[in-house]
Amino acid sequence: MPRTFTPKVVTANRLLEGDAVWLTANGHWSPRMDDAELITDAGTAELRLLDAETQAHLVVGAYLADARPDAAGPAPTHFRESFRTRGPSNYAHGKQERDHV
């Protein structure tokens, strides 16, 4: 029996600003994880990652991160990915800064 596939998103950092971004279903990079495409099978995951790797003019270091479906869209399952959606905890900098404006 095939191993259960944990749903994934493709994520990377923007080449110019370095901020975390996620690959959407229409092939754009969004600064919000809940905009991302939640990938539910290994074949698609591999294809999407290959696609992301061809976009080196936009992003750096694309990888597949575990995610779970949530009301607003994909959400992180690991604390590291969760921090990437917000920014550091010592100052309201990064994404949380923009969210507060």
Partner: protein
């Protein structure tokens, strides 16, 4: 202080121009990320969790006021108004945009600074005692030699592709404030029968396999320093392991071959290369030394200082804690704490940097130091000027009186910034410091070094903390391991793991139990945490850390 020669200036400018072109080629697609990454790393440019990070070297921790002002300018212009001082006497900017990094480096070049070899498998920023040139216990100022090593190691063609990074630290004092036994090479200026030389220590290191360095040469003549250091790096460059990143550092090479075999090989290599050193290194050293001549210290009475101590208890407390004896009559070394309770260890705002620069200009012969403990030093302040310095520091929120105390915590950036981290460090440091302040036990606890790393690479020096904390990812949850009894000084020791780790919510109460437990365990008020630990061993400290286990064991024994 060392001033760039035309050669230095031209070299640094050329590197900026090279990086500018490389960044442009990366952006226009001529360079792939795989091609660009080693180039940006050669210039200290990392990609972290939320943004790029630029690591700028503060060679041997020494800055003048114009350089500190320039760091403030960088923080304001290219970052979010602050910078983070690190345990290797560097400063990190956490939010630069790729396109603007060459401008940052150009601004730094204006004041004789750079970020070259702050990353990659090269010889990194040479660090030194942060009280160098000022300390009362110093045999000689280690900074001229540190500068010589900086020049020698920068772009050294033989050492650009080492098995792994390589770190050198130097002190001129018997009391080690530069953690030299935890470096790949540690150098200590010593004197034998009135003749100066170096004790050379090799193979120290923290990280996943912490080791205390071993003495490879107990008295190296002064003039042999550069060929001898070159011989060490050269031997390691050949036999260091490139098959396994975790076994590549020289500490493993020394461990696997044994110090005697390494010494034999180094001696052989030294004999081979010595004739190539024509003495030009010593000539250069003499000219560097001239630039590190001590400032013209003034003579003034210290009645104002004594009066201020009597009149102002807050000033008295600060001067009791944050001053260190100076070699010059009437002077003191001022440590400015970047560890206000609840603040991020090592962070300074642009405004604070400007205040410190201004104080250096007015009261410290234009000099500042960065310590590996993430504080800033005004090395040469006359006691008569201390009340004014204190008042300015207080107005800038920089007058926390906690140097060497429980809240003077080293913490790496951890998972709040670092892509390598496995857990956060900063919030743990903030909470411990806040708790210590709330309990009002700081001065009662006395000398206590708490050091926190957010991964096994140990940038936060946790192995050599009296209390070390290591943040790990345990099954997708942050988990913190405690080590006890570490020591970063001349009596260096690696701490021992206390037992099972604690969750993010348990770790601060655990540290509190440990601190309160120590107050009960100590023999007298004079016995420090480390002394008590050495006298009693780990058992009673483990008992306060793990009360449940202790109770169970007591029941079983009954």
């Amino acid at each position: 202080m060392y001033k760039y020669t035309d050669f230095d200036e031209a070299f640094v400018r050329e590197r900026v121009a090279q990086l500018r072109a490389q960044v442009e080629r990366r952006i226009d697609g001529s360079l792939t990320e795989d091609e660009f990454k080693p180039l940006r790393l050669m210039n200290g440019l990392y990609l972290q969790l939320h943004a790029y990070m630029l690591r700028v070297a503060v060679p041997y921790g020494t800055l003048n006021s114009a350089q500190m002002d320039r760091l403030a300018h960088l923080a304001e212009t290219y970052d979010k108004g602050y910078g983070h001082f690190t345990t290797r006497q560097n400063i990190q900017f956490n939010w630069p945009e790729l396109r603007r990094v060459p401008d940052m480096l150009s601004d730094l070049a204006d004041v004789g600074m750079h970020s070259i070899q702050t990353s990659g498998n090269t010889i990194r920023n040479v660090t030194a005692d942060h009280f160098a040139g000022a300390a009362a216990d110093e045999i000689a100022d280690p900074r001229p030699v540190a500068e010589l090593l900086r020049q020698w190691s920068t772009d050294h063609p033989e050492f650009q592709f080492l098995p792994r990074k390589f770190k050198i630290a130097i002190t001129g004092s018997p009391n080690d404030r530069a953690v030299i036994k935890s470096h790949d090479i540690g150098l200590r200026i010593v004197e034998q029968d009135g003749v100066r030389g170096y004790e050379v220590i090799v193979g120290g290191g923290l990280g996943p396999t912490p080791m205390i360095g071993k003495v490879i040469n107990d008295f190296l003549p002064e003039a042999h320093l550069l060929p001898y250091v070159e011989a060490i790096v050269s031997v390691w460059n050949q036999i260091g392991r490139r098959d396994n990143k975790f076994k590549a550092r020289i500490k493993i090479t020394v461990h696997e071959h044994g110090i005697d075999e390494i010494r034999r090989r180094v001696d052989a290599r030294f004999a081979e290369i010595l004739p190539g050193f024509s003495g030009v290194d010593q000539q250069i050293l003499r000219s560097i030394e001239a630039q590190f001549a001590p400032p013209a210290f003034k003579t003034a009475d210290t009645r104002g200082y004594e009066a201020a101590r009597l009149a102002n208890p807050a000033f008295r407390s600060w001067s009791d804690t944050n001053l260190t004896p100076h070699r010059a009559e009437g002077y003191a070394i001022v440590s400015i704490s970047l560890k206000k309770h609840g603040a991020t260890p090592g962070d300074a705002t642009a405004e604070q940097m400007r205040v410190m620069a201004d104080l250096a200009r007015r009261f410290s012969h234009d000099e500042l130091r960065i310590s590996h403990e993430q504080n800033v030093i005004l090395p040469h302040v006359h006691r008569d000027d201390l009340p004014q310095v204190y008042a300015a520091l207080r107005d800038a929120d920089l007058a926390t009186a906690n140097i060497g105390l429980a809240s003077d915590i080293i913490a790496c950036p951890g998972m709040d910034y670092c892509a390598l981290a496995t857990a956060r460090s900063i919030p743990i440091a903030q909470e411990i410091a806040t708790r210590v302040d709330a309990l009002k036990i700081e001065h009662d606890l006395g000398h206590l070094k708490i050091k926190i790393s957010g991964c096994i690479n140990a940038c936060g020096h946790h192995h050599v903390g009296h209390i070390g904390i290591l943040g790990l990812d345990r099954a997708g949850v942050e988990n913190y391991q405690i080590t006890l009894g570490g020591d970063h000084t001349e009596t260096a020791a690696v701490g021992e793991r206390a037992g099972p780790g604690f969750s993010a919510t348990e770790i601060v109460p655990a540290i509190e139990r440990l601190m309160l437990g120590y107050l009960d365990l100590r023999e007298t008020e004079k016995e420090t945490f480390l002394q008590a630990y050495r006298r009693l061993g780990p058992a009673p400290f483990k008992a306060v850390l793990y009360p449940e286990t202790a109770r169970k064991e007591a029941r079983n024994a009954a």
